[in-house]
Symmetry: C2
Subunit: 108 residues, 2 copies
Amino acid sequence: MQPEHYRSGQNIFKEGEPGNKMYVVKEGEVELSVHGKLAVSIGKGGIFGEMVLIDSKPRSATAIAKTDCDLGPIDEARFLELVHQKPSFALEVMKVLVERLRLMDERT
Amino acid sequence: MQPEHYRSGQNIFKEGEPGNKMYVVKEGEVELSVHGKLAVSIGKGGIFGEMVLIDSKPRSATAIAKTDCDLGPIDEARFLELVHQKPSFALEVMKVLVERLRLMDERT
């Protein structure tokens, strides 16, 4: 899929919106916030936005480009292809989800 | 792996302990609590304890048998085998993690 470019401060997606793709950060940094609070910062090589591909519910967070960014979008078809062909990708997605769960556990 | 049986009220694992397996609930119901607060109830067909297999950190929750339970343990070798051979298993684990993340988002 075509890479997407965002300028610093630009909105990538908003909490509560429907969504149909996740992103790999190719360059730059992205900030995710939940209920208006900064949740996590995602740098080069990191992924975000994967939750909508897993449960088809609205975006759980707002994503904003913290710096100018190049993002690699992954839609549902490509996501399923990767899960089927690259178990390491599935494990990476699980790791990201577990990291966020642990982070939230620490905050509660 | 051999199924494990727990009596109602029995401890399966405790928050902060190391762990090396996840469980599928074959019969009965299991309660997970985090920092002493009930987090989620897992019924027949549900899975829990998967986080230690993904990031090798200590248990993030305490698991107690709410009723008499039959559990199917899955160790790391079997977990990796399943992720490689059954993409549907990987997707199921992701779904469970996302469900818990959404639940925690709602509570924050």
